[in-house]
Amino acid sequence: MSIDLSQFLPSFLEESDEGLALMESGLLDLEPGDDESINAIFRAAHSIKGGAGTFGFNQVTDFTHLVETLLDEMRDGRREIVGADIEILLKSVDCIRLLIEAEKVGETCEDSRIGHTTDLLNQTLALSDSSNEESNEQASVESTNVGGSSQTSWQIEFIPEHHLVQTGNDPIFLLNALADLGEVSIRCQSQLPAFDELDPEELFLTWQIELIADVDEDEIREIFEWVEDECQLNITKVETVEQVLAEPEHIASENTEAPVPQIEPEPVTAPEASIAPTSAPAASTPATNDKANKPAAKATVKAKPDAGSIRVGVDKVDSLINLVGELVITQSMLSELGNNFDLTKVERLNAGLEQLLQNTKELQESVMRIRMLPISFAFNRFPRLVHDLSLKTGKQVDLVINGEQTELDKTVMEQIGDPLVHLVRNAVDHGIEAGEQRIANGKPAQGTITLDAYHQGGNIVIEISDDGGGINRDAVLNKAIEKGVVEPGVTLTDSQVFDLLFEPGFSTAKQVSDISGRGVGMDVVKRNIQALGGRIQVESEQGQGSTFRVYLPLTLAILDGQLVKVGDQVYVIPLISIVESLQAKAELINTVSGDLVLYRLREDNVPVLPVYQLFNLPADNKDVEGCLLVVVEADGQKVGLMVDDLLAQQQVVIKSLEDNYQQVDGISGATILGDGSVAMIIDIPGIIDMALSHARDKQDQFYQSMTQEHV
């Protein structure tokens, strides 16, 4: 039977990731004498090695074996836990990660770090002179398969100790296994004590077996491997025979009152033995061994985007099942009501519909919870990062993590990782001062970075704060003036100044280091956060430190939307970006610079964007006067979207357009409305960008035509 285990590869990969994360965090906190931690680290390495072997990831198995050996020595107390070894082990964790990544796609990992770390591990292990008994052992097993094809007659004497069956070993299976090797004839002897001394749970039988098979002594001993300490086993080679007896001899049991029921002698005649003609069993044994040495499933994964999997807590699933149960009850109640409906039952119908609404809402919330994971999944890489950074910069940094259990949508989590890494790097590199400077400022030499996460309304807030020098307001402002980002002489609030940090190409670091501060980054951080529908805020006090606060929506899957009509199309505008909706009054409409329409909204002049024009649609109404304006805001810019009609407000489930099509300018996704039709969701920052670039194109064209006329 061939069993394909490749379906378990994703679960192994997921488990390895977790194991590696556990090893990493364990190693970072490891203190001498902490047996439980070192055991947990060992266990993680051990599981990875075991799984990798199953999937034929030999590079991983070999490498992890070294790591495991080192950890084993630490675990047994044969090796002291020192910083240098921990650094090697941390490097090893990185290597295992690389190796698994490579094997996953069926490649050999060529990264130079592997060889380097392997050398380090070998050197470290060589110092403790750990012998490599295991590989010797393996070699000897393999050699047993080599042998002639001639049949040998063996005389085997098997005298088990009385307590043998108490370890769960049953002699019948051992005898069956022998019968699998070749022809057997078995003689059983009983040495029963007097009846009143007889313990029915003990074994008083011994066996003499004659085996004719093409095997060597090691193969026979292997069968008795599990019981070798609980029996006397004498194996003698009688002769080499060319022919095998045609008929196997039956067992001659001298004593039929066998005291132990499960070792009834007659099954030992083993049908396996009688169906075994001449050399077939002998030949088949090495063959199966051969197969057994091969990896079960050499898995190569197609390089296809992985949809990923989520491990869901049983409580979440249970609550879903409960809710579905309620839904079923409501449904049957409603359908019964519908069977012979009359107007007297309207009240009950309304109550039923109300209940259905409640069920659906709860079900939706429950389903959303499935995608939520504790933010520790994003935070768990930071201890290692801060550890490495503090080594590199020579700054002492302590990392404090709070709110790890705060839950966040899986997709948001995956995409927020890199921006957070950048912010933490920044905090170590630019935030925390060098030790001497801190002491001079009356602070402890060790700086502290705090990561925190909590829910606030429909958002999750992630805070990265440091107790460093704070942001130098004047330095930022001078730099901005120097770069021409702001005019000299303007007055800006603190938060306006700090927002300048997120301008493209802005970096205040005096020295460009290899950690952060290449002048790219903060603007990218802001862009990534905005792409997730979030925002970032900075607070800082000179000499006291800074706090970066990231606000993110809890989920990307659902949004509250305003349905609008443009021509015959329905669009969804995210409610969160809507400032207000109004009917345009003629006296408030102004046209400037030729064709830009501005609408006076109290003190602001809001540019009017005709959606039909931007989306290239036929519209019912092309006149701004009297039309409906939905005033929306993004990046501090307000615009009025010109639409034909305002429809309902409702929650919509966001569906990707990119799965089967591609990204579309001004559109963030699509959704399915109650009637089954599709509606596009307008991307507010996107449509503003579109309008800006349209305007720029128009100007370019205009100036081009001007210059052409001059020529």
Binding site: M1, S47, T54, T61, V165, Q166, G168, D170, F173
Partner: protein, 120 residues
Amino acid sequence: MANILIVDDSNSIRDMVSFTLKSASYNTVEAKDGLEGLNAAKRSSFDLVITDVNMPNMDGITLCQELRKLPNFRFTPILMLTTESSTDMKMKGKSAGATGWLVKPFNPEKLLATIKRVIR
């Protein structure tokens, strides 16, 4: 139909062992550490126990010792599933009452061949 208890802290190994045994038409019950395994054993009988050695909460050696104290597990075969092929670990297992051992990397054919040596 033989009932087999599988105890391992690694989900993937547990899944693979269980899958292999089920495809050979055995019934399986899974537990993620020794303690859970022991509780499962107290609730029902098994024809075979396959356990990992190194696990949190209760390791395989302790599980083995505890199982042997239960009246209906005195003669039940217990196999240790382990990558540790060191004689030391095997002896520890034996003295705790284990029947035998299976050396990882886990291989389905080998597993099925080996358990034929302890159950029908």
